[in-house]
Each structure stands twice: as C-alpha cells, then as structure tokens.
Amino acid sequence: MTRPGLLSVLTLSILLTACGADDDAMVLYGPDPTLPEPSRGLLPNMTIAKPTGWGDELPTVPEGYSVSAIATDLLIPRQTLVLPNGDILVAEGRGGNASALRPKHVIAGYIKAQGNTSVKSGNRLTLLRDSDGDGTYEQQGIFAEDLNAPYGLALIGDDLYVANQDALVRFDYEEGQTRASAAPETLTELPSAINHHWTKAMTASEDGDYLYVGIGSNSNITERGMEAEVDRAVIWQVQTDTGAHKTYASGVRNPTALAMHPDTGSLWAVVNERDELGPNLTPDYLTSVREGGFYGWPYSYWGQNVDHRVRPQDPDKVAASITPDYSLGSHVAPLGVDFADGKLGGAFADGAFVGQHGSWNRKDLAGYKVVFIPFNDGQPAGDPVDFATGFIDDEGKARGRPVGVTVDPEGALIIADDLSNTIWRVTQER
C-alpha cells in the first residue's frame, strides 16, 4: 500500500512560491522573528496531515518524564481543568456555525475536515478521577452535558465557570462532586453570531473578581465584512459577581488560550494569527496582554506591518499596534497555554507550556507538538523546547493534535488531544 503520507490536496507547486527551503535562515521563534514579504500564489497552500491512530505508540517526552493516556474515546476534548482534589474536568465539543459565503469556503471546509476527528461534538464536561493516586484515572463520568461547545474552564471558590461558544455559565461546585447538581445559570452571553472562530478561552484573575474571555475574530482577514467583527478579536474582562464586561484588549485575532502568570499576576494569551500571507507569515504568538492594548488585527500584524487585504485601512490603529512578546512560529496554531509554576521540575520549572494543534496553511507541517517556553523574571527567555512530540508519525500522518495544556499541581502536565480523543498525562519520573 503506497498511500501518500500527506494529503496534499491543493498543492499546485508551480503556482506557489517556494517555501520551507529557507526556514533555516529565518528566525521563527522569539521576540524578533524574521518577517518575509507576504506571498500567496493562486492557490492557498493547504497541506493537511492525514489522521492515523496512535496504535501502541505514545507521545515522546523528555528523558526523566513519562506519559500515559488517562482517558480515551472522548468526544473532542479541548481544554482541561484540575480541581482542588485532583479530579480533572475535560471540556468536549466542536462549535462554530459559519456558513459558506463563497465557493472557496465549501472547498476549504471539506479539505480541513480531512485533518480533524469525525467524532460528534460532545457538548459536555467529563470528570476523571484517580482515587488512589497511582496515576491511573479509573473513574470517568459525565459531570455535565447539553452544553454548547464548552471550551474555557475556571474554578473560583465554589463556582465552576464554563465558557460555552455562546455564553459564560456557572455551576455550583462542591469538592468531590462527580456530577453537576443542577443546570448552570448564565452569567453573561458571549458574542456568538457566525462564530468563525468559536472557542471561548477563559481564565480567572488571582483574586477571583474577574474572568478573562478570549473571543476570536469572525474571519481570517475581514472577508466576512467589518460588520461581523463587532466585539470580535478581543479579550473581555467579566466581573464574576455581576456578569458585566468590558473589552480588556483588542486586535487579538484568535486568542485561543489564556493564563495568569503565577508570579506577576499578569494575563498571558496565545494567539492564532492570520493566514494566506505565506509559509512564514504571520507568526502565532505568546504575549502578555496589556489592559486597553491593541494588537493589530486586522489592520496590521506583528506590530505595525500593514495588512493590505483590509479595506478601509486605519493608519491610526496601525500606529497604535503593540508588538507581541514572543513568536511561536507561523501556522503552528497554539490552542493551549499554562505556566509550569515549578510543578514539573528540572528544565521545565519556570516557563509556559504551549499546545500546538498544527498547521494547514503551510507545505511543511509546523506545530503538532507541545513546547515549553522558558521564562525568567516573568518574561520569555530562550527558544522553545520540545516537551511532547510524536504527534506526526514517520510517514507524515497525524496520530494526534494537541489542544489544551494544564499543569497539575501534583506535578504533571495534562494534554488534551482532539484528534485521537485522548487525554495525556506527563509526569516527572521519581
């Protein structure tokens, strides 16, 4: 059987500019990435890694660490939350209801679906429990169901907050509970029209007074019209006691995961940047989020680099655009972030873990792994270090695709894999 490892559906190479060859000469990561000239052939370069199973394989983790699957056969796990008693909540589902507006959307939607799971959206929270602390999560049950593409999770005291794709809801939670006692109440509606980027990432402030909710743009680069972008590409700050919100930061195209830095208390986000400007544009990034800050989308990228696909343009907005802190590389699709906070030891004590779902708009695959960004004094300091790899096999097929990453205070990293529908747990060997 000689099936190609990569489903290179639309690679009309002669029409495309060469890519990948000069990756080595470019700075892909860090505070000052190389920004080549925008390039786009007649066809967008769509290369999707065809899914395959893990079989007996496991993700590759650094020496001194071990990995195991603690839950399988889930219904599209995205983000996880470790509860005070060590239980793990898993948000499962798939959202979005963007209709196809052009022939392109019909074709691209079909191609992208080839790289994703065909499982139905779970729309639920699953609770995993390891009663005896042996690392095997023998108890697995449904904590809540009939949710609407839940994604962001946060626990403040006895309140469990869940960011559905259309609303922020609250459950009462008691330690040890394995099933929600009642249907949730809505704290606030969230922008959900179209929901091109539907994930509602969420984290809580240290004092528990606020929740931060990431609301992605409704298009790649305004191709659904400026009107569709009201209250999009923003991070909301929501008061937990009233549900009132304000826009905390804007111009963040798709903030897919948020986390508070444990030492500085500042808000950090991973952001998926725009496509169709070439294999090494535009860098997806990890950044601290400044209150009131504008991060460029749609008018410019990586600070003040104007995106000429946007009309009308806005030079004032371009001038006000903040350059993000740290490039993760273009098209790697970061969907998870959490700070190590000294829980995993060794070289992984101070820094951020980032789950990278992996590219589709690039000939050479990028992402498809979990990396660690070392920090020093609350700022990124150094190149990314691979923490969990092996999500792409030797033939270029995808065994899994990482999404949410959560540091378990017991000394583990929880990785949600939404292609193989697995939860991985990486621990330091003792």
Binding site: R40, P44, R102, P103, K104, I221, T222, G225, R309, R311
Partner: protein, 145 residues
C-alpha cells in the same frame, strides 16, 4: 438559365442548437454580473459584492464549460471545419482559462482580490461577449446539438 445558389458555401452557416445557444448566451450575464459586482466592491469595500462575484464567476465557468463542450463536438461535424468555428472554440477556451484564474483570484480574502480580480473580470466579460458574437453571427437556429 437559373443559377442555384448553395448558401452554405457563400456564408458559413453553423447549426446552433437552442441548448447550446442558451448556455453560450448565459455566459454574458454571469461574467458581466461578476464584473459589475467587482466594480461595486472596488468602490464601496462592501464585502458582499465580492461574494456575489465569486459565485457569478463560478456560474460563468460552468456555462462556459458546457458551451465549450458543444463547440468542441461541433468541430467534429462537417460544418465545424470552418475557421470561424475554430476561432469560437479558441475564444471560449480562453474565456474559461482566464475565468478559472479569476475564480482563484476571487478565492483570496477581502481586498487581496483587488485589483487583479477586477481586471480579469473585465477581460473575461469581454472575451465571453466576443465568443458569443462570433458564434451567434454565424448561426442557423435549430437542428442537432
């Protein structure tokens, strides 16, 4: 003495079936519609116009392709050996190829379609009109496909 004139030798009259005629004539409003939508987007930045032109170009390509099939099959009939029917097929093929490139340009996001999409729409609408004029001016309505 009365001379009998075989008109088909004087002016090359090619059969144009109703189906072929409809398919061919349909290319003009579709590509013209795409052109007008592109002009509207160019002037207003209202994205819906370029959505319209994307579909209109796609529709024009379907009609052009079917008319092209009719035209090519005509080449294999006796009347298809005329220079005019070959010119028609070449024009229509060119319309389709440039129309296809135009559809790829229209698959770009937002203003990345401009100005090349508008320029191509002008050329394609003109080509479709010329191809149609060439074929209709040499028609004999009715008959086989």
């Amino acid at each position: 003495m009365t001379a009998t004139v075989d008109r088909s030798h004087q002016t090359p009259q090619m059969t144009l079936s109703p189906l072929h005629a409809v398919l061919l004539a349909g290319t003009i409003p579709l590509f013209l519609g795409a052109l007008l939508s592109d002009i509207a987007y160019f002037q207003t930045y209202q994205i819906q116009w370029v959505n319209f032109s994307s579909w209109l170009v796609a529709g024009g390509l379907v009609f052009t392709a079917l008319a092209l099939l009719c035209g090519i099959s005509g080449l294999f009939r006796a009347e298809g050996h005329s220079g005019r029917s070959k010119l028609y097929v070449v024009l229509l093929l060119l319309t389709w190829v440039l129309g296809f490139i135009n559809s790829l340009v229209h698959a770009r996001d937002a203003w990345a379609t401009m100005p090349s999409g508008l320029i191509l729409s002008v050329i394609v609408a003109l080509l479709a009109s010329i191809a149609t004029a060439v074929r209709f001016s040499a028609r004999r309505t009715g008959g086989a496909l």
